[in-house]
Symmetry: C2
Subunit: 151 residues, 2 copies
DNA sequence: GCTTGACCTAGAGTATGCTCTAGCTTGTTC
DNA sequence: GAACAAGCTAGAGCATACTCTAGGTCAAGC
């Protein structure tokens, strides 16, 4: 019977352990807490922060959300919902689903942006091969590619 | 004879025109220039910057490169190469190709990061449907998904 | 009981990428 | 030739996200 969070101790980690295992600095972890991004952190007699394995997983989630462009402000909102308990499940679900959509949209935007870079590389290849500036501009190539994909 | 820029005149645009047509502020365009990101800008008698249609396309490229995560520093390097003329074509080609690779790698990383978010949404759905916390953690689900995609 | 290392708080400093202000000049229009 | 829009330079200010410093406390080993 090893209950994970509430009070017990499946593992009692200090900030240095968490830093090492999450690949962050202790500074950063304390800063995350001041920003409201660390739920369920308790203190021991000496006022030291005590963490559990839960926080390793939590920081992994935070990292993935940050990586995919979620701001600290939004992470704070999400963390606040988590702190409210299961009553906030629909809101948490909605927040993450909205983020998924944003990330997919961003990937689409990036892919679109790459068409011009692709065209530019092609343009440079032709220029170098032919010895003079090609007549078809990269912008025109990019437009062509978008209007007839894979042609 | 309305000569625009010391040599020829396909179009003579002032900073306000460029700002309007590129969707940026005049401040930003001047700042881009101080950062070395605006090649071939000349001045008229009254010291005003004069642009051509070329710069509209240029700013479009800058925007796409920025959007896909290229830093101002790297844009500056690229711009410096463009200013050097055709001798720098191989270097420009290499710089853009390297950027393409980075963007593709980033998209892969993002897609990977999304697996946990997907799993989390699924986890919340089950939790809400079942009324209690599911036993399989989001982290475990994400691992499962990665080890056997589309199963 | 003293040293050492890890931890504490508060707050300053840094990097990036803009964004705007102040004060002045120039070009155009009436 | 006066008014006014648009441009100019230099530099300050701002948002985001850390990152680190200073000065002190606490716990464990010797």
């Amino acid at each position: 019977m090893m209950d994970a969070r509430a009070t017990q101790a499946p593992s009692a980690l200090h900030i240095g352990d968490i830093a090492r295992r999450s690949g962050r600095s202790v500074h950063t972890i304390r800063w995350y807490e001041t920003q409201g991004l660390m739920p369920g952190v308790v203190r021991d007699r000496g006022r030291r922060r005590v963490y559990s394995d839960y926080h390793i997983g939590w920081l992994d989630l935070m990292e993935r959300l940050r990586l995919t462009g979620m701001s600290i402000r939004q992470l704070r909102e999400y963390t606040a919902l988590v702190k409210q308990g299961s009553a906030s499940l629909p809101k948490r679900r909605a927040l993450l689903a909205a983020h998924q959509l944003r990330v997919h949209a961003m990937i689409a935007k990036w892919t679109e942006a790459l068409t011009l870079v692709d065209a530019k590389v092609e343009f440079y290849d032709e220029w170098m091969a032919g010895g003079r500036r090609p007549t078809v501009s990269p912008q025109q190539r990019a437009r062509d590619k978008r209007s007839m994909p894979k042609a």
